[in-house]
Amino acid sequence: MAKEQIYWEDVEVGTELPTLPKIADSLMLVKWAGASGDFNPHHYEDAFGKSQGTGGTIVHGLLKHAWLVQLVTNWMGDEGFMKKFSCQYRGIDRPRLMKTMNEPQDGETWLCKGKVTNKYVDGDEHCLDLEIGVENGNGEKTTPGTATVVLPSRG
C-alpha cells in the first residue's frame, strides 16, 4: 500500500504532481455532508441553491479543499509534512446526478493538479512551495490554492 517516499532532492521547480481525478456526484456530497457536518441545503436542494443566487446545488468548497489536501499529502508521502495550505473557491461546481445507486451519470470530471514553484531550505527544513488547484471539465481553475511542504532530504 505504501508508496515509495519522495525526497527533496528528487524535486525541481516546475516538477508536476501526478494529477488526481475526482468526480463530485450526489452520493459524494451526501457522504461529505455527513462526514464533515456541513448540512447546508445549498449542497442538496436545487431550489434552495436557486434562492441563494447560485442557480442550484453546488459542490462544497471544503470538499474540493479536501481533494487538494489529498493531492498534496499523498504525493509528499508518509515522511512529508504539510506546513501550510490555502485555497479559494472562485468558481461554482455542480455535482453529477446518479445513474444507479452508486454510479454517477456521464458528465464532468474534475482534475486536481499541482506543481512546484519554489525549493529552499529554511533552518533544518527542506521546503517546497506548490501551486495547486481544481480544474473543472472545461479546464477552468475553480479552486486555486497554494501549499508548503517539508520533505525528507537524502542530505
Binding site: 500500500m1 505504501a2 475526482k22 459524494m28 457522504k31 461529505w32 455527513g34 462526514a35 464533515s36 457536518g37 456541513d38 434562492s51 441563494q52 443566487g53 447560485t54 462544497h60 468548497g61 471544503l62 470538499l63 479543499h65 479536501a66 481533494w67 489536501v69 489529498q70 499529502t73 499523498n74 508518509d78 515522511e79 509534512f81 504539510m82 506546513k83 501550510k84 495550505f85 490555502s86 485555497c87 479559494q88 473557491y89 490554492g145
Partner: protein
Amino acid sequence: MVLDELKQYIGKVDPPHVREVEKGAIRRYADAVGNDNPLYYDEEYASKSRYGGIIAPPGFFGWSAKAIAASEGIIGLMTAMINAGYAGILDGGISYEFYLPVHAGDTLVASPRVKDVAAKEGKSGTMMISQFETTYLNQNGDVVAKATQHLIGRQL
C-alpha cells in the same frame, strides 16, 4: 452604516469547543473524500509509520472546520449580515498553518474568533467578506493548527 455595525463583531471570541478525534470519524471523512491513504484507517500500517498510529488528514480535526465555526460570535455576525441584506452566504476559502499531526484519540480544543470584516465591490455589487480564525490545541496544550476561513455575504 452596515459595515460599522458588522465590525463590532471583530475580536469576538467564542467559547472553546472540546472534541475527541474519533477513529471512525476519520475513516468516514477519508471515505467521503475518496482518500484511500492507509494512515487514516489501517491500524497495522499506521502503527509502523512515523506516526505510530492512525492520524487525521490535515484539515480534519474530528469535525469539520465549518461545524466548529458555527458558534455565537460567528453566528452572530452571520445573522447580522443576513439582517442587513447580505443574505447570500458563500464559503470563500480557507488557509491553514499546520504545526503537529492530529492523532486518533487526541482531544482538541478549538477556539474560534472573528478576525475581520470588510466590504468589497464585486461584479454583482457590494460583498461583505468576513474572516474567522480558529486555533486548535491538543491535550498537551500544543497548538496543532490555525485555520482562517472566509465567508462572503452577497445581496440577493
